[in-house]
């Protein structure tokens, strides 16, 4: 019988390890069980390595347009796919090691293997059976291994995995998930991206910049379906201008392998079929929670459509068992998982945190141009019965944007006309993923248009457009 913990977390992804550190800060004896890699998908196969890839693409893009900035680049400009991937893996490796360091520093025990909750208060850890995605970082030192562990509170933070469409199962060769798309041996000349959420669009943007002919196939009538339709429309226009082909209202019904790659059969909303050939296909049709094989069924933990049912503090229907992050439901975002984990252990501690407010979770997509948003879209605000005031400000009216050579973009704000409450903000254009947080703070502090209007924004910055957008909502825009 091994050590007894106050809090044991199953899964060392961004939700799990942040939960563990917060738990340790609160004085709990804490452990994390991880089967494959500290930092989870986010750090090893998701958010972080894709940002590294996209940075290479961004610089490559600039190098191809030196004259726009009055520069001369002579000689051959090219891409070394192996080096681009190596850089991306290096970034992940560095941060992976950082997570191990942080856990150690906070005296969190790391238990290596696959966990099953055998009963409330007890977890059995066995050696990892899952086939490990390669390349991997070395297993950290000083870890605990197989055995039975006692814990007063067990937090399930097992994350999610790519959703698989029957008949279009990824084979790792021609049909990829984000795993294979992250570490290609060479960059394909042609590519079909199935699904236009953040993952699909980011890979479409990356491979297009790297020279591939890319077609995005989306079953819904709008790309980036969770985003404001106006913003998604502008994004589509930009992508198409760059040369990315987009087929909305269309589904992939069949994929056949050919000598040079594959041929996909597409069916549009009217039922008309066509075929499309490409070297590779990325399946990015969403993710599904990892709820299996951790003992939830046996304990009667309530799950629904692939996720664990929890309250605003991560509590399941079984006392002593909690769930946070992707496995506890959408939006499946690292920052949401981290925050849920913190709330969960603070509630265990009796600190009375406020339950998760999902209406203020920002979302960012790092395609070119970037898209970022928080709160309600214009459509959803109207559907929710709000009488709204909408402000818009285009990048072309902003000095800094022009100086950067980034005149395409829009910042849109949505206010409740009755109270002046900021209920949504939607952005497209350069660096908007860094701008959105200003509005997230504003929403959390319950600012109204009045305080935003009275706030001084530094000049010259892109952030001035946030100000102008608010001014526009109240008929006071200056630079338009």
């Amino acid at each position: 019988m091994a050590a007894a913990y106050d809090v044991l977390i199953i899964g060392g992804g961004p939700g799990g390890y942040v939960t563990a550190i917060r738990s340790a800060q609160l004085g709990f004896k804490t452990a994390v069980v991880e089967r494959e890699h500290l930092g989870g998908i986010c750090l090893n196969w998701g958010c972080i390595p894709t940002k590294a890839l996209l940075r290479s693409a961004e610089i490559y893009h600039y190098l191809q347009h030196p004259k726009d900035y009055g520069l001369i680049v002579e000689g051959k400009i090219g891409v070394d796919p192996a080096a681009v991937v190596k850089r991306s893996r290096g970034v992940s490796a560095q941060l992976n090691g950082g997570v191990g360091f942080l856990l150690k520093k906070n005296k969190v025990d790391v238990i290596w293997g696959e966990a099953t909750i055998t009963k409330v208060g007890e977890v059995s850890v066995t050696a990892t059976k899952k086939s490990i995605m390669q390349p991997q970082n070395p297993v950290p030192k000083g870890i605990l291994g197989e055995g039975t562990y006692q814990a007063k509170h067990i937090v399930v933070a097992t994350g999610a995995r790519p959703r698989i469409l029957p008949g279009i199962e990824p084979d790792g060769k021609n049909i990829w998930t984000y795993f294979e798309a992250m570490v290609p041996e060479s960059f394909p000349k042609s590519l079909i991206v199935m699904g236009s959420g953040a993952i699909g669009i980011e890979f479409a943007s990356f491979y297009h910049t790297m020279g591939a002919e890319v077609t995005v196939v989306e079953v819904l009538p709008q790309i980036m379906p969770v985003e404001d339709p106006e913003i998604a429309g502008l994004a589509r226009k930009q992508f198409e201008k760059q040369g990315i082909k987009i087929r909305t209202g269309t589904k992939v019904t069949k994929v056949e392998k050919t000598a040079s790659g594959l041929t996909a059969t597409l069916e549009d909303s009217k039922g008309a079929t066509s075929t499309l050939s490409a070297e590779k296909l990325i399946s990015a049709v969403g993710v599904t929670g990892n709820i299996e094989n951790i003992g939830l069924e046996k304990l009667g933990v309530k799950t629904e459509r692939g996720i664990v049912v929890v309250d605003g503090f991560g509590r399941t229907n079984v006392a002593g068992i909690y769930a946070i992050g992707d496995v506890a439901g959408p939006p499946m975002l690292a920052h949401k998982a981290e925050h849920e984990g913190v709330i969960c252990v603070e509630a265990i501690k009796g600190l009375h945190p406020h339950p998760m407010d999902k209406s203020m979770i920002p979302g960012c997509t790092y395609c070119q141009p970037q898209v970022a948003s928080v709160g309600l879209t214009e459509e959803k605000a109207k559907a929710a019965g709000y009488e709204i005031k909408v402000g818009r400000f285009p990048f072309v009216g902003n000095g800094k944007a022009i100086a950067l050579g980034e005149p395409d973009g829009l910042i849109k704000t949505i206010f409740d006309a009755k109270t002046g409450k900021l209920i949504g903000a939607h952005m497209i254009g350069a660096e908007v993923t860094e701008l959105i947080q200003g509005f997230v703070i504003a929403m959390n502090l319950e600012t109204t248009e009045e305080e935003l209007i009275h706030t001084v924004f530094p000049h010259p910055t892109l952030s001035e457009m946030m100000h102008e957008s608010v001014l526009d909502a109240y008929g006071r825009v200056i630079h338009m």
Binding site: T419, K421, E446, T448, E450, H454
Partner: protein, 450 residues
């Protein structure tokens, strides 16, 4: 890590209370769930339970301190293994902002500054004692639009900050949380002429002026407890904001008295011969008023500036005299309850009211009320409406009187009742219909049993 124990809010509208008594001493071990102190709120004494475990390292606010603001640190609990004495000595210096007993006689509060509509930015909101009330911009705007006084709202945001949800809850809670007239913001012990004048209300004499009428030493000063202050504040508020008018009728009681005897005779008895219930005349009156309110639904209302709240059930408050004051527990949905149920609920309320053990939710709210002074031989009186009620029924003594029946003198048992009515909500004819329905039920009491 030491834990600050904060002054709890025992009801949604509580802003301050009296720390009546510590039940634990410094150095005592504390388990989660232990009752560590008693707090006297508006009308009740409540127990404070510990949430955390450890040792009571330091009492910051001593016994008997009045006007302790919600969320003020009142004590420090040291967790296991912590140096209790270090915390205790550090603790003495830290909470400089916490009220001390001397602060109980603090100067009158400034009136809450409600920003005017044309102001470019919300004026800072001034609270009791002049401290800033922390609130979000959206909360300030909603409070302004809803006509609420932020100082009367308890914040649940970080560090007790008032946020949107608190203001919405206060609006939903109804008019009792509405902007109290200015005197309510001031401690009753120290009238605030400035704030009263600002609200355009008549100003009472100052304490000093009043005391000059009496030779020094010819009286003793008995400090107000929080119940006395609440009674003073609420009744001044009621009389200054509610346009009262009064309707009086006589009800014949003979049929009711006869029915009461029959009903009580049928009560099942337990093995000691104690009946399961003993219905009083007052229980009939509660039930009668509740049914009358349902029969005349336009009178079962509450006035708010925005709308008339028309209630679906009749929640009847019953004034209960207790040492040092009175309290009005509410019989919820009295229209749907049997006489025996009402009777037993009243007995429970009365017993707990005397110990000041009623919970705020048991005496807040209601749609009308009964005040009965019949047992003291009072023939007739007019009661003050207790907001958010629109009416209150004052009950006089049941007594035999000679009346004229069919042109001849006859003896009957009569009870005079007077309905006080909020004219904003219930007009004269409507009030007459309500009291008429009540009279009819009292005089034909079988209707209350079916």
């Amino acid at each position: 890590m030491s834990i600050n124990v904060l002054m709890p809010a025992l009801s949604p509208t509580m802003e301050q209370g009296k720390l009546a008594k510590w039940l634990k001493k410094e150095g005592d071990k504390i388990k989660s769930g232990d009752v560590i102190a008693e707090i006297e709120t508006d009308k009740a004494t409540m127990e404070v339970e510990a949430v955390d475990e450890g040792v009571l390292a330091k009492i910051i606010i001593p016994d008997g301190t009045e006007q302790v603001a919600v969320n003020t640190p009142i004590a420090i609990i040291a967790e296991d293994g912590e140096d209790v004495s270090a915390i205790a000595s550090a603790g003495t210096a830290a909470p400089a902002a916490a009220p001390t007993p001397a602060a109980a006689t603090a100067p009158a509060s400034a009136p809450a500054a409600i920003p005017v509509a044309s102001a470019p930015a919300p004026a800072p909101v001034v609270a009791t004692g002049g401290a800033r009330v922390f609130s979000s911009p959206l909360a300030r705007r909603l409070a302004k639009e809803g006509g609420l006084d932020l100082t009367a709202i308890k914040g649940t945001g970080p560090h007790g900050r008032i946020i949107e949800r608190d203001v919405k809850a206060a609006i939903a809670a109804g008019p009792q949380a509405k902007a109290a007239p200015a005197p309510a913001a001031a401690p009753a012990a120290a009238p605030a002429p400035v704030s009263a004048a600002a609200a355009g209300l008549a100003v009472g004499m100052s304490d000093e002026t009043i005391k000059k009428f009496f030779p020094a030493g010819s009286y003793e000063e008995v400090p107000h407890d929080s119940m006395r202050k609440t009674i003073a504040r609420r009744l001044v508020e009621a009389k200054q904001t509610i346009p009262h008018f009064y309707l009086t009728v006589d009800c014949e009681l003979d049929a009711l008295l006869a029915l009461r005897e029959q009903v009580n005779a049928t009560a099942p008895k337990d093995k000691d011969g104690k009946p399961a219930f003993k219905v009083s005349v007052n229980d009939f009156i509660i039930k009668g008023l509740a049914l009358a309110l349902i029969q005349v639904p336009d009178a079962n209302v509450t006035w708010t500036e925005g709308a008339m709240l028309r209630h679906k059930h009749a929640d009847v408050g019953v004034a209960v005299s207790i040492p040092g004051g009175l309290i009005t527990p509410i019989i919820r949905s009295a229209d749907t309850k049997s006489l025996s149920a009402i009777s037993n609920e009243m007995k429970d309320y009365a017993a707990r009211a005397k110990g000041r053990k009623l919970k705020p939710e048991e005496y807040q709210g209601g749609t009308s009320a009964v005040s009965n002074l019949g047992m003291f031989g009072i023939k007739n009186f007019q009661a003050v409406i207790n907001p958010p009620h629109a009416t209150i029924l004052a009950i006089g003594a049941g007594e035999q009187r000679v009346i004229v029946k069919n042109g001849a003198p006859a003896v009957a048992t009569l009870m005079t009742v007077t309905l006080s009515t909020d004219h904003r909500a219930v007009d004269g004819v409507l009030g007459a219909q309500l009291i008429g329905a009540f009279k009819s039920l009292i005089e034909n009491p079988m209707a209350m049993l079916v």
